[in-house]
Amino acid sequence: MKTDVLVIGAGAAGMAAAIAAAKNGLKVIVAERDEITGGILNQCIHNGFGLHYFREELTGPEYAERFRERLSEYTDAIQVLTDCHVLKLNRDKKALLVSPKGVFELETKVVIYAAGARERPFGSLMIPGDRPSGIFTAGVAQRLMNIDNRKIGNRALIVGSGDIGMIMARRLTLEGTEVVGVVERLPYPGGLLRNVIQCLKDFNIPLYLSSTVVEVRGKERLEEVVVAKVDEQFRPIPGTEKIFKVDTLVLSVGLIPQVEMLDSLVSLDARTRGIACSSTGQSSCEWIFAAGNCTAIFDLVDYVTREGERAGEYASRYVIGERFTRGVPIVPGENVMLTFPNFYSDVDDLTLYVRCRKPMERAVLKVGSFERVFEDLIPSEMIVVKVPRQKLTGLGRIEVTLQEV
């Protein structure tokens, strides 16, 4: 089989990219290993999606459905293969696809990689103790409850106070699982204040800040979780242990861009741990573009959609014959934890995503000769700014800083 554009993954990023490429008159194949398109959106039944993009607030499945409908408007140009896993991508632009119908090879002119992220697993936390059942990552728990209609336990403790952890606290409570608390190692909540209120305060769920899990105990099923306070280096403070009698532990300790398939083909960024991209969405391998959570973890699906559209647009222009420079590196400076994209290719204004390193009341963001003041910054809320091209010309390297004022 042959195509102009192969999109790998049909989450928010992949769907948007496919539509953008179809609009440019190209033939597109979208491969998705799940049975339906939409990616992670399908299991996020809470509201909070689409406010920027659709100017109304939708749930995840509603957001996915809107894009599924748009995709179906391009049936001439876009072929969606669900239940289809892309196993391998080769240097000669040939991909190996696996589906219940068999294994086949597909030749493409360009790839838009939109494989999303995976959750940090329990094993990566190196928590001492037993390995009983009853320990879930938030995404798995969410899938079991929201898609498969399964109750995961009776009394639960949650680790991680990002938005996902807090939303799971509310979800479990509504479904009749008692949530005894949310444990967070940082001295402040990891997610939006809005979720602290509507997911924890509304249901009187305690939030244990500067705390971590130091041991799990249980024979067959989880019985106890030991939590201790931590110091500034996140080291547990002896003597502060507290025992929670729970049968369920839900981990929401971060997402990691899914990049394994491209490991040997493209370079990664050390900070985002995702595929290092230029402002065109292009990776270090000319014909591979990428978008969404496989490049950096985005807070909002609206941003992911825009990045998908951008990658789709530039990838199409690449197929049609345009060539882009890799551009100059964009690097995080003072008080900046990470930035995306990783390079600026001088074709358009720069849409820049920035995560700060610590909470700040007021800070000036500086990017080249561009400056803007932001208020109430927290690391869990990404800053998004459009930096005009003129402010960036002639720079050999773009440093991004946040100075407290």
């Binding site: 399908n42 039944i45 809470h46 509201n47 909070g48 406010l51 607030e57 939708l58 749930t59 499945p61 509603e62 996915a64 459905e65 929201n146 898609i147 498969d148 209609n149 509504l174 479904e175 009749g176 939006l192 204040l193 809005r194 209120i197 509507q198 509304d202 909002l300 109430d376």
Partner: protein, 122 residues
């Protein structure tokens, strides 16, 4: 001045306000008019949109996700969840279908937030 965070959307505006006897005398920081309504409700009767799911019979999935069409009083949430657990709908369901009208007299409907096809009994 008091401070509250509006939860109506992910913007999460930090609203500063002054109220005398439950009446707002000054308000700032809300980026849209919904913030005023939110604050008024919060002082009188806090309300929330409730996203959850209900059982589907003969569907390609066992559940259909739903939400209240507008915020309902927070105090009704436990009662609402008891009610919703007993609800079953026949597939097919389409996104936007009304599952329950004027639930618990709150003025809000329960609407489907995804489509579930009927299982093909071939």
């Amino acid at each position: 001045m008091e401070k509250i965070v509006c939860v109506l959307c992910p913007m999460g505006c930090k609203i500063k306000y002054e109220a005398v006897d439950g009446k707002i005398v000054s308000i700032e920081g809300n980026r849209c008019p919904r913030g005023i309504a939110y604050l008024e409700d919060e002082l009188k009767e806090p309300k929330r949109i409730v996203p959850t799911s209900v059982k589907v019979l003969s569907g390609e999935m066992p559940l259909v996700s739903v939400k209240t069409s507008k915020p309902i009083p927070k105090r009704l949430i436990p009662q609402f969840m008891d009610l919703i657990k007993k609800v079953e709908v026949e597939a097919p369901v389409n996104v936007g279908d009304v599952i329950l009208r004027n639930v618990l007299d709150s003025g809000a409907d329960v609407v489907a937030t995804r489509s579930v096809k009927r299982i093909s009994s071939a």
